[in-house]
Amino acid sequence: MSELSTVNNLPAASVGPKRRRPARRDGRAAFLMMGPNFALFSVFIVIPIVAGLYLSFTTWNITTGPPKWVGLANYTKLFNDPIVGVAVGNTVKFMLFGVIPTVVIALGLAMLVNVRFRFVGVVRSLYLVPAAMSFAASAIVWRYIFLDGPGYGVVNWVISQFGVAPPNWLVSTTYALPALDVIAIWLSLPVATILYLAALQRIPVSVIEAATLDGAGPMRRVRSIIWPMVRPMTILVAIVALLSFTNGSFDLVNILTPTGGTNYATTTLIFYIYQQAFLYGLYGYAAALAVLQIAIIGGALVALRLFHTLGTRRG
């Protein structure tokens, strides 16, 4: 407290904008207390980001010793590698056809369960419980639902009841990626629904009642009241979904289509990175691909942000 009064007593001139820091300083204690956290964070998060950039200019194979500088060779290779284009395309498709349905369905589900009745807690649990599942476990549960086993899976059985020959989902070049998207959407919905539900519950009931009395139908209420009120949450829902699909784009691919699909149909960029590094030992090349991956995620985040800002301005 004495420090505080000292600063307050200083002439105004010396308390310029730069000096107007909080009077009490806890530098030493803060350093000791934050130290372990930040040290570990630096070693395993900050340094790898920098090291990744460095590795992308080298060839490195664990068995042949330390990384060797090769300049831009990995990047030249990257631009001439036809699979990179395919993998980027698959990644973008996987994200778009995953994140957009997740956002839309989650808003619908949140509106659906934003109702009060005695067992609402139990019913909501039905929606949320997939959040406890890993990609690995869900992958296998869904594998049987889609096709596998000696008989048909449920999905294909239903399709065949309509007299249509069901696709061989995971082997198909057309349906494999959408099938993985379905699983990832199912896994991403709980968290997205929770976030939207929280946003919906911040809308005062009186507002919606007033609109209903004024003759606004359900569609009109969604468009004019609910959507504007939950829009700020949409950016968060989309970001969380995007990160979840980033994880899914490796886990599901590696477990359900361990070769990356027929004709690279499910080879996402992350899966390709993993293959290059841990299957073929091309760690330097994989690091260059990872730089591309970060650029794509960064680009997606910037795009989301821009979309959000533009929407807000217009609305």
Partner: protein
């Protein structure tokens, strides 16, 4: 008017319940199939209800010739999850206090770095993280499995910062005047007061750690360190050729996921609070 709205309400409740059952259907399907005989699961028409309850599938999944889950990977998953959550919690609650209430020069920079890290999943830094861990010499050891994940302190630290910054400054000033140092404040005041934040943090991190797949796949290449997600993933690959019967595989998944489903149902309010920063009514 009142009559219509009552009917509307009933229809909504019914519809919400039906959709909920549909959402959870894959889980029910997994559980019922895990109790069937092999011949029933391989029936050409998908079966929903078991003829009789074959709980023996569960013991078959963990023992005998049909064994697919080994206690070693179960123990590894428990060790991994326990230490990741415990160590990371210690770092995050103290880090949260530092950023929320202590004054020092680089506070803004550190907060920004932690926030940015939330958008960089370990997948994207997989190669260099592997490189660093290898250089330190702890690949294929428990520390190598655990510490790079513990290091992802961004989410937890910011969660605790958020919560701790809502504790009034006066409480901290009073404690300081009484001569308490920051460690005492952390132990005696912040940790007890931040119990709801700890609940939210633990709920989310336990699930994340238990379900993690890629890092263990890379950092634990020796079978001794295998965790359950790897076991399941291998089952997935092998069942492609139909090596294991579906009912045994489903029983195995139930054994692995049921603990987490139970945990999740118990801590659901904390989980929701951790995500939304508030509860859901």
């Amino acid at each position: 008017m009142i009559r219509t709205s009552k009917i509307t309400h009933a229809v909504r409740v019914l519809f919400a319940t039906l959709v909920g059952l549909l959402m959870a259907a894959p889980l029910f399907y997994m559980i019922t199939n895990s109790l069937m005989t092999t011949s029933q699961t391989s029936d050409l028409t998908p079966q929903i209800i078991p003829d009789s309850l074959h709980f023996s599938n569960y013991s078959d999944a963990v023992s005998g010739v049909t064994q697919v889950i080994y206690s070693r990977s179960f123990i590894n998953s428990v060790i991994f999850t326990f230490f990741v959550v415990l160590l990371q919690w210690m770092l995050c609650v103290s880090g949260g206090l530092v950023i929320a209430k202590m004054r020092f020069r680089s506070r803004g920079v550190i907060t920004a770095l932690l926030a940015v890290s939330l958008f960089i999943p370990i997948l994207t830094t997989l190669i260099p993280t592997f490189f660093v861990t290898l250089k330190i010499g702890i690949i294929n050891t428990y520390p190598g499995l655990i510490f790079p994940i513990v290091a992802q302190t961004g989410f937890g630290t910011l969660l605790f910062r958020q919560y701790i910054s809502q504790i009034p400054d006066e409480l901290f000033d009073a404690a300081r005047i009484d001569g308490a140092n920051w460690w005492t404040i952390l132990r005696r005041m912040v940790i007890p007061l931040a119990r709801p934040a700890t609940g939210a943090y633990v709920a989310i991190s336990v699930l994340t750690a238990w379900n993690m797949y890629l890092w263990p796949l890379v950092a634990a290449q020796s079978g001794n360190l295998e965790v359950l997600t790897q076991t399941l993933a291998n089952l997935g690959n092998q069942t492609f050729g139909g090596t294991h019967p579906q009912n045994i595989v489903y029983a195995a998944i139930v054994i692995v996921t049921l603990p987490m489903i139970i945990v999740f149902l118990c801590v659901q309010p904390y989980f929701i609070r951790g995500l939304t920063g508030s509860g859901v009514e």
